[in-house]
């Protein structure tokens, strides 16, 4: 099961925070800070996996990937395949790229609720819904189509 998906920038500012098992807000902030502490001190040219036992309990791992100024982070337990999660992140980023045509950090900041909608089409309750990025884009467009006016009024 996937426990959390976090996007933060290279200064440690959270850009998207989604926990699939509930954590109180203070704990969430603490986790974000401790993850940032680990990631920003990691050398390049090392593996993308970090053991996350101390924050999430036994046998949990963290995979991260950097895209431009952003860290994409997925935390999951031992029922998931680490390498597959790397591919999942690739699908997530490709989908964002299609939805925002050349996604950048600002797109995610200002449209965080749309990013949540996209993520909900990929992961539900910590399980993968869909790995086909064009299917995901289609589902998201259907939803946005019916709530276009709302995006304008926010």
């Amino acid at each position: 099961m996937i426990r959390a998906v976090i996007i933060m920038n290279d200064e440690g500012k959270p850009r998207l925070v989604k926990f699939y098992d509930h954590q109180p807000m203070e704990k969430q902030q603490e986790i974000i800070r401790s993850i940032y502490g680990v990631l920003c001190s990691r050398a390049e040219n090392v593996s993308n996996f970090v053991q996350a036992d101390s924050t999430f309990g036994k046998d949990t791992r963290l995979v991260y990937k950097t895209f431009a100024t952003l860290y994409f982070i997925v935390i999951f337990d031992d029922s998931e395949n680490e390498l597959a999660i790397l591919d999942l992140m690739q699908v997530f980023v490709e989908t964002l790229d299609k939805c925002f045509s050349n996604v950048c950090e600002l797109d995610i900041v200002f449209n965080f609720n749309k990013v949540h909608t996209i993520l909900d089409e990929i992961i539900l309750g910590g399980q993968v819904v869909e790995m086909n990025s064009s299917e995901i884009v289609k589902a998201v467009n259907d939803i946005s189509g019916s709530s276009l006016f709302l995006f304008l009024s926010l």
Binding site: R15, V46, F49, Q51, D87
Partner: protein, 914 residues
């Protein structure tokens, strides 16, 4: 309408927050927004509810409290339109959790939405339920979700399947309702639906034994066929990830096969073929392919034995190990760790590749590989593996040496085939990384040495050679000093020569030179020096003709400001000079230490505290309890006529109690008091002011003078220092009293103790000087494990740190390579006046972000006319290196014509980047 609620748009709020330069500004913006949202909430404002909730989600992400928005989510969910519901459900998932009672109120809305005609609304409700459902909601809504598993739109079926996972995890009893619907979903052609159905199937098997049995019987065949089609299918571009068709589906299929095959030979047998196909047909040049292979290996390892497949699987992992991608090597090592318990032999075949990974550039891979190698070592391969590891130790990174050393020592101790090999390997490790070796390791080495009587000569000669080349490794020095003291005669006379040895010629004076060099080396800590004195005493008996020279060396420590050394040297001097008849009996060879009980004891928990309670105080020769002695190797030699630096109380039973008292205060104290000098490094540098104060107030009188040292380093202001004066003064009083008591109790042969007492300042006469005498040099905290590397660091031009009248102080600054936070300072004091300064003491204090360590000064008298100088080494660790510069307050006190002088100042002209 409320004047605030017309408010800013979400976009404007985010802009305002992003424009904030400080956290305080951000808090102000958020506070203002929250105030206006609260106002809108209490006005029950409908128009901007969705906008306010969207803002709250952003504010929540930044870590501010947003509980006042929870009811707004429910109102939006209850709204008729899709857009409002969407924001409402999003808020529900982010701001609420299943434990909140508010959640109960949403069940009804969810039920309506699950039955809604708009499929997108149904999707929203399923998504929310799947993320936050509580057990009650799961019970209430399970029938709706079950029905939706057959919904016409595949997107809804997918979500319903995953939502069911949450439901059966919350309420396992409901599992049976889902078994049949899942069985039909497994026949789906739609990839997405199939993927989610397989996940649901796996979770059903985990929560329910009956479901597992059912699927094993009815569906194994179907799933195997789906996987076979996926492996052999023609290229399907829409599910393709880097050239592999639908890798995620294959991974899920392999996972469900693992669950079905585990513990069932028939099912396992059924899937052998397809697993072999996946293992051989999948391309391994892309991450997606490797992910499938990795999953396949895990499945092969978990299902019932089929020897051929396992070899195939472990060979795949072996290939992974030489992959260029760090991630692949990382997962391969993890998997090999699991595989080792299943098929150790197959893993052994990849030993060479695994050993290469110990040298990887990625620290986390190195660490895993080392653990794996540790598991692979056995009697047959211990010699070559140890050799490889020790060879690598020479070139490994500094920060990996600690782990590596610990593992090598553990391997050698556990599996050494013969004693000579054990001793040889330990000496190699000590020479390469002696500063990383834990105390118990070299203690154990000494136990082994004493037990191998035929190797005493060989060992002491090897150590003699080793100390010549590796005198910067404290552990080598200690073991060598101990052995030379104990077996010095064997060293000089080349006794017990082995065939493999090259003969060497060592004279008595060569042997004594080594000990003298060790005691004088500035990096040696209290324990090492105390051990040196003990060794000298032994040698005075082993080499009767050199005893005058030994006496001279011992005498040099008489003036030591470290009570322990001072006391030892005075006592030993007295033994060498006046009690020749006693001497040889006192320093007879140590009895053989009992290996079994020592290793048993090490297995127990508190190495440092358990043995010490039964130290028989004041007993002259202890043969019954050699272990206890071993613990205090450096300090409490059994033949030491006066085993404790604390003057022993009149009878030994009360002495034991007193020790109890002292120890009862905590293990840290034992590390700050020289009584336990042998264990100082084991505890590290924990001794701090608190401990010190505890120690002083614990009612155990003889906390020795050196103890205040940590106060000098830790106290951040001079007033702290002063507040200790009184305590310390009492402390010295007590010390004197005790020494006096002691003299009464055991008058001969320790008349020398009178000298000791009188060398302490007169109590009460001059509290300031008292304090200073006590801790001018800095005895208790042992020097860091790697002091020798100081020499090739970065250097700075010397600075004049302080100048007042005739006294000037210059600092020579240098850095140690690899640790930019640490600055090494050599302070040099000169006196341009015509007068001699005596009792010269330098003290320093630093702010909290710095840590200061002072080494003892070279002298405490400073001759006039700049004709000489005092040097003292300091080590400053800057925890905020790069952010803050080093500053220091200093105080210098001395006696000028027997008058107390005191100078104070602040040094802030350090280079900025220290």
């Amino acid at each position: 309408m409320n004047p605030f609620s017309s408010g800013t748009r979400l976009r404007d709020m985010i802009r305002a927050i992003r424009a904030c330069k400080t956290a305080a500004e951000e808090r102000a913006v958020v506070r203002k927004e929250c105030a206006s949202i609260r106002a809108a909430v209490s006005d029950n404002d409908n128009d901007y509810r969705h906008r306010n909730l969207a803002k709250l989600m952003f504010i929540h992400m930044l870590g501010y409290p947003t509980h006042f928005g929870q009811m707004e989510c429910l109102k939006l969910i209850a709204a008729p339109g899709f857009p409002e519901k969407r924001i409402g459900y999003l808020g529900l998932m982010l701001l609420l959790d299943e434990r909140q009672e508010v959640l109960m109120l949403v069940t009804n809305s969810l039920k309506q939405d699950l039955n809604h005609t708009n499929q997108y609304i149904v999707g929203l409700a399923l998504c929310a339920l799947g993320n936050i459902s509580s057990a009650e909601m799961a019970r209430d809504l399970a029938p709706e979700v079950e029905r939706l598993l057959q919904f016409r739109d595949p997107n809804v079926r997918k979500k319903a399947a995953l939502c069911s996972i949450r439901i059966i995890k919350k309420v396992p009893d409901l599992a049976e309702n889902f078994v049949n619907p899942v069985a039909s979903l497994l026949k789906e052609k739609h990839h997405g639906v199939l993927l989610t159905a397989i996940q649901l199937c796996a979770d059903l098997c985990i929560v329910s034994e009956e479901a597992l049995e059912y699927f094993r019987k009815k569906c194994t065949e179907g799933i195997v066929k789906v996987l076979k089609d996926a492996v052999n299918s023609p290229y399907a571009p829409e599910y393709d990830i880097s050239g592999i068709s639908d890798p995620f589906l294959q991974i899920r299929l392999l996972r469900i096969l693992r669950i079905l095959g585990h513990g069932d030979a028939d099912a396992s047998d059924f899937m052998n073929d397809v697993l072999a196909q996946v293992a051989t047909k999948t391309e391994s040049n892309k991450n997606a392919g490797n992910a499938i292979l990795y999953e396949c290996v895990e499945t092969i390892m978990s299902i019932e034995d089929s020897g051929g497949l396992r070899v195939l699987a472990i060979n795949i992992l072996g290939r992974f190990l030489s992959n260029r991608d760090n991630n692949i090597r990382y997962v391969a090592l993890n998997m090999l760790m699991k595989a080792i318990s299943i098929d150790g032999q197959a893993v052994q075949r990849h030993r060479a590749t695994i050993l290469e990974c110990v040298k990887d550039s990625d620290a986390s891979i190195r660490k895993r590989a080392l653990e794996l190698v540790y598991l692979l070592v056995n009697e047959n391969n211990v010699k070559p593996l140890t050799k490889e590891l020790i060879d690598y130790l020479v070139v490994s990174d500094q920060d990996f040496k600690g782990d590596l050393t610990a593992k090598i020592c553990s391997i050698v101790e556990k599996l050494s085939p013969e004693k000579i090999w054990y001793i040889d390997q330990m000496l190699k490790v000590l020479c390469e990384a002696g500063n990383y070796v834990k105390d118990e390791v070299w203690h154990a080495l000494i136990v082994v040495i004493t037990n191998s009587s035929n190797l005493h000569g060989y060992t002491v000669r090897s150590l003699y050679r080793a100390i010549q080349t590796s005198c910067d490794q404290e552990a080598v020095v200690r073991v060598a000093v101990w052995c030379i003291g104990e077996y010095g005669d064997l060293l000089v006379n080349n006794v017990g020569m082995l065939d493999i040895e090259e003969p060497i010629t060592v004279t008595e004076s060569d042997a004594i030179d080594v000990i003298e060099a060790a005691i004088k080396q500035h990096t040696s800590d209290l324990t090492t020096r105390a051990m040196c004195l003990m060794a000298l005493l032994k040698l005075s008996s082993r080499f009767p003709s050199s005893s005058q020279r030994i006496k001279d060396i011992v005498n040099q420590s008489k003036g030591s400001l470290l009570l322990e050394l001072q006391q030892r040297s005075i006592e030993f001097d007295s033994i060498i000079g006046k009690h020749q008849n006693l001497r040889s009996a006192l320093v007879e060879r140590m009895p053989v230490l009992d290996e079994a009980s020592y290793s048993g004891r090490r297995g127990g928990s508190g190495v440092s505290t358990s043995g010490i309670n039964n130290i028989p105080n004041g007993v002259v020769k202890i043969v019954d309890a050699p272990l206890v002695d071993l613990l205090d190797l450096g300090v409490d030699e059994p033949t030491h006529p006066h085993p404790h630096p604390h003057p022993p109380p009149p009878n030994s039973s009360s002495g034991a109690n007193f020790l109890h008292d002292l120890l009862g205060v905590g293990a840290d104290i034992s590390s700050s008091s020289p009584q336990s000098g042998g264990r100082n490094t084991m505890h590290g540098h924990k001794s701090g002011t608190d401990v010190l104060l505890d120690l002083l107030s614990s009612g155990s009188p003889p906390a020795p003078a050196p103890a205040p040292a940590p106060a000098t380093q830790k106290s951040s202001s001079t007033s702290d220092l002063l507040s200790l004066t009184q305590l310390n003064n009492n402390n010295n009083n007590n010390n004197n009293n005790n020494n006096n008591n002691n003299n009464k109790a055991s008058p001969s042969p320790f008349s020398a103790l009178d000298t000791l007492s009188s060398s302490l300042p007169t109590p009460g006469a001059s509290p300031m000087m008292d304090l200073l005498d006590g801790f001018g040099p800095n005895p208790t905290t042992p020097p860091p494990p790697t002091p020798k590397e100081e020499e090739n660091g970065r250097t700075y031009p010397p600075i004049v740190a302080f100048e007042s009248g005739a006294l000037s102080l210059t600092f020579n600054l240098s850095k140690q390579p690899g640790s930019p936070q640490i600055t090494l300072i050599e302070a040099k004091f000169t006196n341009k006046s015509s007068q001699l300064y005596t009792d010269f003491v330098f003290q320093a204090a630093v702010p909290k972000f710095l840590q200061l360590h002072l080494e003892p000064a070279s002298s405490n008298t400073l001759p006039g006319n700049a004709s000489g100088s005092i040097t003292q080494k300091l080590r400053v660790t800057n925890n905020q290196h790069g952010k803050k510069s080093v500053v220091m307050r200093i105080r210098i006190s001395y006696k000028l014509n027997n008058k107390d002088m005191l100078e104070e100042g602040q040094i802030s002209n350090f280079p900025r980047d220290l």
